[in-house]
């Protein structure tokens, strides 16, 4: 081999390594980077008579998908195309569609915490301006989730003096409920103290747990904490946007939740809804808080539940007040909708008294009108409906800001750490609550400070 041949071989190897390194690094980072820059969606506009509804997948949407879309089509002659995908993908797709006004969708089915971003960002249309009149029978707390800026609570500075307008309409009232096994509670427990006393005397982990909760960091553990936080009279954020959970009431609320830990599964920090409710459905848990879906689809379903007919539902317990968190399924009309009229017609139709009563009667779904949730025929069959109405009326909304997921992530990470700490220490719950809530407070305060032009 000549020397030039040798250097050529060395160059080749180096080039190969460099190229492999650079090429692979670029390939790894490229899709994420491209996605960060925002995408330009494409899609043809819907015809004037066709209505395209997009949604995320959720068991609660099953009747909507299977029955009501078809019924609307049958009754009005308007062709409806219903598309759904997983939650995260749909959030991105809807946002991209709305920002680029592609006209691929007419209605977005959204989570209620998307409303601030979608309304403020012009991703959905102002329904008040379109002349939409919501059914006056819709429960106020549910309906309020669709207004921007919010009717109550703190507002972003740019919207401080704006009149609230309707940007989205609630279609399913999802709210925290207290699920309790009537073998251990003869009547609905009214306070956390009552539940604590019952679990102290009756729970025998791991055969019978006193309480079950979602403990995974982020949204799940926050959902476990909010009914406690709200009921102790504290706020996620105060009216001036300062974090409201690290004061005496918030600490006491977390201390109460942590005091349940000796009667809960030691695996709680890894629990999400399936594990949390699984214990109750196996008959191994006295009580828990959860959203309405478990009542509608699980507790009386013999293929999933060993406690059919044993679980009753009520408003979440109180300390100074009841404080269930609300999380609605809510619909907005796409900014680029090619069939705005059809979209309004559909939403008006679905939230009408007639359809809502049908919605409650067929499957005990979480209807949005008071009349449907108190309909005697529906209530006789589905015992949880009045509890849903009561809980919606008593509910507390989450902070109404596009940064809510970030706040939830901050609080949820520290709450998860508080659970781990409390399980390890088996005591000192007050100090643990104070320590981790303060950490969350400081992080959130920093975010608020960084974005002070948005908030103050």
């Amino acid at each position: 081999m000549t020397s030039s041949g040798n250097s050529s071989a060395q160059w080749s190897r180096r080039a190969l390594l460099k190229s492999a390194g650079l090429g692979a690094a670029a390939t790894v980072a490229a899709p994420l980077l491209a996605a960060c820059s925002g995408s330009t969606g494409s899609g043809g506009g819907a015809g004037s008579k066709k209505l395209v509804i997009g949604s995320f997948q959720d068991p609660a949407m099953q009747p909507f998908r299977h029955m009501y879309v078809k019924q609307f089509q049958h009754e009005t002659g308007i062709q409806v195309v219903y598309e759904e995908t997983n939650y995260n993908a749909w959030y991105q797709a809807a946002k991209s569609d709305g920002l680029n006004k592609t006209g691929a969708y007419d209605i977005y089915v959204m989570d209620d915490n998307w409303v601030p971003e979608f309304a403020a960002g012009g991703i959905v249309q102002n329904m008040t301006k379109l002349g939409f009149k919501p059914n006056p029978g819709i429960l106020a707390k549910g309906l309020d989730q669709g207004y921007w800026p919010p009717k109550s609570g703190p507002r972003l500075s740019a919207f401080k003096n704006d009149t609230p307008q309707l940007y989205a309409l609630v279609i399913i009232d999802d709210v925290n409920l207290l699920y309790y096994d009537k073998r251990y509670f003869s009547s609905p427990p009214q306070t956390w103290d009552e539940i604590y006393a019952a679990m102290k005397s009756k729970a025998k982990p791991p055969q019978l747990y006193g309480w079950s909760a979602r403990g995974v960091k982020g949204n799940p553990v926050v959902q476990s904490y909010l009914p406690f936080l709200n009921s102790y009279g504290a706020n996620f954020v105060n009216d001036d946007w300062t974090p409201g959970f690290a004061g005496a009431a918030g600490v006491a609320a977390l201390e109460r939740l942590l005091s349940f830990l000796p009667y809960m599964s030691t695996s709680t920090p890894e629990f999400d809804t399936d594990q949390e409710t699984g214990l109750m459905l196996q008959g191994k848990c006295m009580a828990l808080n959860d959203y309405t879906g478990t009542a509608v689809t699980e507790i009386d379903n013999p293929s999933n539940s060993k406690v059919v007919g044993q679980i009753n539902l009520a408003n979440t317990p109180k300390q100074v007040k009841h404080g269930p968190a609300i999380g609605t399924f809510i619909c907005g009309i796409a900014s680029g909708s090619a069939n705005t009229e059809g979209a309004m017609k559909f939403l008006e139709w679905f939230t009408s008294d007639r359809i809502q009563t049908q919605f409650a009667r067929q499957g005990g779904n979480a209807a949005v009108t008071s009349a449907a949730l108190h309909d005697s025929q529906a209530v006789a069959k589905y015992r949880w409906l009045p509890a849903i109405a009561q809980s919606v009326e008593a509910s507390t909304p989450k902070p109404r800001t596009p940064d809510e997921p970030k706040f939830e992530d901050i609080l949820g990470t520290q709450l998860n750490l508080a659970l781990l700490d409390a399980l390890q220490q088996k005591g000192n719950y007050g100090k643990i609550a104070q320590k981790w809530l303060k950490a969350a407070h400081d992080q959130m305060a920093k975010v608020l400070e960084q974005n002070k032009n948005i908030y103050f």
Partner: protein
């Protein structure tokens, strides 16, 4: 068979009447052949990186670009303690996982390089985890690790050990994820090492054995140096891939408990897509890209040095 190469091909006036046009074709041919790949790379890599850089220099509000940010997103990211924490977790994860995969992959390849009965089946079986989609791997291991329903806890109990509750503790969750990565990607290094071992010239090894070198000496002084160029490619590929690990962690722990398994990929994803902060998310990914590049350069340099030293 004689092959005409540029160095050996006869040339000069009268040898080939179309010499000039032939030379032009020769010069252009490599570029023409590279063109399709360059176009594809431009579409799937260069443009996204450009778009990412642009996003990292932009301020977004409610998902809309509202102003240029200059370097502010980078300044914010470098002052973000969570970012550095995530970088630390990423470095630890990559270091431990890739080291374990390299040792195990090489060990398995040494063990299975010889021909024996059923060797093809054994080799194919070892490769199986690599063929499973990472997100499916995450789901499978989540079911196995689950304290209430998984089989890891009962397995430990049956062996007389206490239940590890893998996903309930910060350190066990982290090492649980490392184990998943090792399970999935050791086969890649096994495959690369096996190919290297099979194509290795046997004469130097036989000569060393005749000279009385024992198996350990033979391995460290002959086999490993000869294998280093191939191994370095494998390790480099794994380093880059491990830095971008996302799917399994997203499914298994979501970055928890606490922030114990929050790699930079998870944090950047959350920042960009959950918190709708595209500018900061993109800045984090650019930092990750730089980190990956740096790591690869260090790894390649170290291996080249080692290769030179041993040769």
């Amino acid at each position: 068979m004689a092959v005409n190469t540029a160095a050996t091909r006869p040339h000069g006036p009268g040898v080939f009447p179309r010499g000039k046009s032939q030379a032009r074709t020769d010069r252009a041919l490599p570029y023409l052949l590279l063109l399709p790949a360059a176009l594809a790379l431009g579409l799937v890599s260069i443009y996204p990186i450009y778009a990412g850089v642009h996003a990292s220099l932009t301020t977004y509000l409610y998902g809309r670009p509202v102003a240029g940010a200059g370097a502010q997103n980078y300044v914010d990211v470098f002052h973000d303690t969570t970012f550095w924490q995530a970088m630390g977790v990423t470095a630890k994860f990559v270091g431990i996982a890739v080291a374990a995969e390299t040792v195990l992959g090489l060990g398995l390849a040494m063990l299975l390089v010889r021909d024996m009965r059923g060797i093809r089946f054994i080799r194919m079986s070892i490769l199986a985890p690599m063929t499973v989609a990472p997100v499916v791997v995450g789901v499978i291991w989540r079911l196995m690790y689950a304290s209430q329903t998984g089989f890891v806890n009962p397995l430990f109990t049956a062996l007389g050990l206490s239940s590890p509750d893998v996903l309930d503790h910060q350190s066990s969750a982290f090492y649980g994820l490392v184990a998943v990565d090792v399970w999935e990607w050791t086969p890649l290094l096994f495959l690369i090492c096996l190919a290297g071992l099979q194509s290795m010239p046997q004469e130097p090894l036989e000569a060393a054995a005749v000279d009385g070198a024992g198996p350990v000496r033979l391995f460290f002084h002959h086999t490993l140096p000869l294998l280093l160029p191939v191994l370095s490619v494998g390790v480099t590929l794994r380093l880059i891939d491990a830095i971008g690990t996302f799917d399994q962690i997203f499914v298994l722990t979501g970055g928890g408990p606490g922030t114990a398994t929050q790699l930079i990929s998870i944090y950047a994803y959350n920042t960009a897509f959950n918190f709708t902060d595209y500018g900061h998310g993109a800045a984090m990914l650019m930092a990750l890209l730089a980190f990956a590049f740096l790591l690869v350069m260090v790894a390649v340099t170290l291996m080249r040095r080692a290769s030179r030293r041993t040769s």
